[in-house]
Amino acid sequence: MTVAPGLPAVARDAQIEEWLATDLDHWCRRVVQRHFHPETGSPYWLRRAAELPFDPRDITRYEELTELGPFTLDTLRTGDPGDLVPRAVPRPLAGRVWESGGTTGTPCRVFYTPDMVRHRGLWRRWSFVTEGFQEGRSWLQATPTGPHLIGNGVWEAAELFAGQVYAIDMDPRWVKRLIRAGRLAEVGDYTTHLLEQIADVLGPGRVSYLNTTPALFQALRQRHPELVAGLEGVRLSGTQITPAMYHTFRESLGGGICGISYGNTFGNAASLPVAPDAGLIGYVPNYPQVTMAVVRKDDWTTPVDYGTVGQVRLTVLHEDLFLPNILERDQAVRLRTEHWPCDGVANVRPLQETSSAPEGLY
C-alpha cells in the first residue's frame, strides 16, 4: 500500500498547514455539496436527502449539521460501505474496508478511498514528527491488525517514516469476548501470549519505538520494565489512558517519547504536549476532516462549557466520507485550544451515566 506517493516532506507539512487554515463553514459547504450532488453524490446521502424535510444542500454553516440528526451507526453495520462514498470517486471502488472495534457487537464498516488513506497518513506522520519520533528507526507494532485501521500503522511507519517495522497481532474482540464470559484467567493467558511475542522482538534491543495500546503497554511495563526502559519511544492508542498512567509511562521510559492519540476508525485526534504532573491529557482532531464537540449527555446538540465533562460528538467531514454527529460512547472534558482552529477534547474515557439526583448520596 502506498500512503503518500511522491509527496516530499515540505509538501506534506504545507498540506497540514493548508488544512489548519481552512474555514470550517467553507469546508462544510464543500463536503455537503459533494455528498449531496444529484449526479455525483454518495448513494446513501442522496437516499437520505429524499427523506429529509429540507434540502441539505442549503446547509451553509458547520453548526447547521445538527439538522441532520445524530448519525445512526447501524447504517455502517448493515449497509454497503461504498454507498457512503460519492460517485465522483470512480467505480468500481478499489481499496480497504476498515471496521470499528466490534467489541460490543457487529462492527461498523467504512471504505477508505486512497485520499482518505493518504490524509490519515499525513496526519499520522505529522503527529510522529511533532512528538519527536525520528525517521528511519525500527518499530514494533503490537496492535490489532486485520480489519482494524490501527493496524495500518505498519505501512504508515514503514512508508511515511522510513521505518523497519516488526508486527504482532492482537485480537481485541477475543479479549472482549473472554471478559464478557467472565473468563479472566484466559484474558491473562492471552496477555501473556502477547507479551511473550513482544519481549521476543524487543529483547535483543533492535527496536527503537513501540506502537501499541495503553493497556498492553501497561502490562509490558509491569512485567518487563527493562524492555520498556530500553525503548526510545512508544506510541499509544486504542484504549483509555489516564493522566496517572501517562506519567507512570513517562517515568518508565526514562527520556523516551510517549506519544498518544485518541480516535477510532472514523476519525482521530493527536495529543497535545502533556506537562509534568498535569492532570489533563488533551487532544486536537485532524481538522477539518475530523472535528469533535463535547456535548451535554442529555442534549447532544448543546456543547458543555469549557473545562466540563460531556459526551464526545464526532463529525467526519472528508470529501469521500461524510459522517455528521456520531455520538461516541466516550466522554471527555471540553478543551479550549489556543493554536487549533476547533475545540479539543481531554481526559477521554468511556461514557458514564450522570445522575441528576444527588439525594441518592445517602
Partner: protein
C-alpha cells in the same frame, strides 16, 4: 496497578439489583443465605416495598443495600477478581468489613436485622431529618447555613462535585430546623431529603447506638485481611478493635467519603468499582477513575476498564 472497592452508605427506597439477581446464580445463592440469616424473604431483600415503621424500614433497607454490594463483590470474585483495598461509607464500611473478613457475613446481617428492634421514637418526638448542603468547593466545611444551629449537626462530607464547583455536605437534625434553614438559604443551598426521617450520624442517634452496643460487643471481629479504609477518620482500620469501634461509632459520628477515597488513594488505588447504586454516578469527583456497578452490563464495563488500566485480572491481590 491497584483496584479498590468503594461501598456507599444510606438506605434507598427504590429496588436495585433485580437484573443482576436474574443474571448471576452466585447472587441468588447469596440472597438465599441472607434470607436464612435474617428471616426476610428474598423478595423483601430484593425488591418489595419496605416496611413503614421507621426503624424496621431502616433495618430492612440496610439488609437490602448490604446484600447488593456483597453480591456485586461475589460476582467479581467468582470471575477471579478481588480488590487490593476496600472502603465504605457508613453501612458500606460495615459491609466492607465483612468482605475483608473483619466480621462474618452472618453476624453482619444478624446485626442489621437486630436493629429493627430499636425502639421507635415517641409519637410526640420532634421529627428528624437530613439535608444536603451545597457549599463552594474551596470553602471550609463549616461554611453552610446550618452551622451553629443547635438542632442541626454536620453529619457527612461527600467531597467535591465532578465539575469541581461545589462541595456536598450532609446535615442531620430536627426536620423543622432543617426546613427553616433551607427556606432562609439561597435556593438549592440546603436541600432536605424527603423520606429520610432519621438524623443519621448525629448525636440524635445516641439511643440507637446505646441499643445496639451490647449486640456489637457480643460480635466477633478480626483483623481485616486487606486495607479497610475508615469513613470516620482518614486511616485504615488495622485491628479487630478498630473495626468494632467503627461499628459502635458509626451511628453517631459524622462520615466522610473524602476520608475513604483519600485513604484508598494512599493505598495506591488506581481504579475503584462502586459496588451497588448507593453512590450516584457522575455527581462526585474522585482521585481515581471509578466504575459504578449495579447492572449486568456494568460488570463487563468494570472488568474492561480494569483490563485497560492495567489491573492484573488473574493475580491474587496479595501478590499484585
Amino acid at each position: 496497578m491497584t483496584l479498590g472497592y468503594l461501598l456507599g452508605g444510606g438506605v434507598g427506597t427504590e429496588p436495585h439489583g433485580v437484573e443482576l439477581y436474574k443474571a448471576y446464580p452466585v447472587m441468588r445463592d447469596l440472597y438465599d443465605q441472607v434470607s436464612g440469616w435474617t428471616g426476610l424473604t428474598v423478595g423483601q431483600i430484593l425488591e418489595e416495598e419496605l416496611p413503614t415503621a421507621l426503624e424496621e424500614r431502616q433495618s430492612t433497607g440496610t439488609v437490602r443495600e448490604a446484600a447488593l454490594a456483597m453480591a456485586v463483590h461475589d460476582i467479581f470474585a467468582e470471575q477471579g477478581l478481588r480488590p487490593d483495598a476496600i472502603g465504605g461509607l457508613s453501612l458500606g464500611a460495615m459491609t466492607a468489613a465483612a468482605l475483608v473478613g473483619a466480621v462474618s457475613r452472618e453476624e453482619l446481617f444478624r446485626m442489621l436485622v437486630h436493629s429493627r428492634h430499636v425502639p421507635e421514637p415517641a409519637p410526640d418526638a420532634p421529627r428528624q431529618g437530613i439535608a444536603l448542603a451545597f457549599v463552594p468547593a474551596g470553602a471550609p466545611e463549616t461554611d453552610h447555613p446550618g452551622h451553629g444551629h443547635p438542632d442541626i449537626h454536620p453529619s457527612g462530607d461527600f467531597g467535591v462535585t465532578s465539575d469541581g464547583s461545589q462541595r456536598i455536605l450532609m446535615l442531620s437534625g430536627l426536620a423543622a430546623a432543617l426546613e427553616q434553614v433551607a427556606a432562609a438559604a439561597p435556593p438549592g443551598t440546603v436541600v432536605p431529603l424527603p423520606d429520610r426521617l432519621i438524623a443519621v450520624h448525629s448525636p440524635l442517634r445516641q439511643p440507637y447506638r446505646d441499643f445496639m452496643a451490647p449486640h456489637i460487643d457480643a460480635m466477633t471481629f478480626a483483623t481485616p485481611r486487606l486495607p479497610l479504609l475508615s469513613c470516620l477518620e482518614q486511616r485504615a482500620l488495622a485491628s479487630a478493635d478498630d473495626v468494632r469501634d467503627l461499628f459502635h461509632r458509626n451511628a453517631t459520628d459524622p462520615i466522610s467519603l473524602v476520608d475513604v477515597y483519600t485513604g484508598m488513594k494512599g493505598q495506591g488505588v488506581d481504579l475503584a468499582f462502586v459496588m451497588g447504586p448507593s453512590i450516584p454516578e457522575g455527581i462526585l469527583d474522585f482521585p481515581f477513575p471509578v466504575v459504578h456497578v449495579d447492572k449486568p452490563e456494568h460488570i463487563e464495563q468494570a472488568v474492561t476498564t480494569a483490563y485497560e488500566l492495567g489491573i492484573d485480572l488473574t493475580t491474587p491481590p496479595a501478590t499484585r
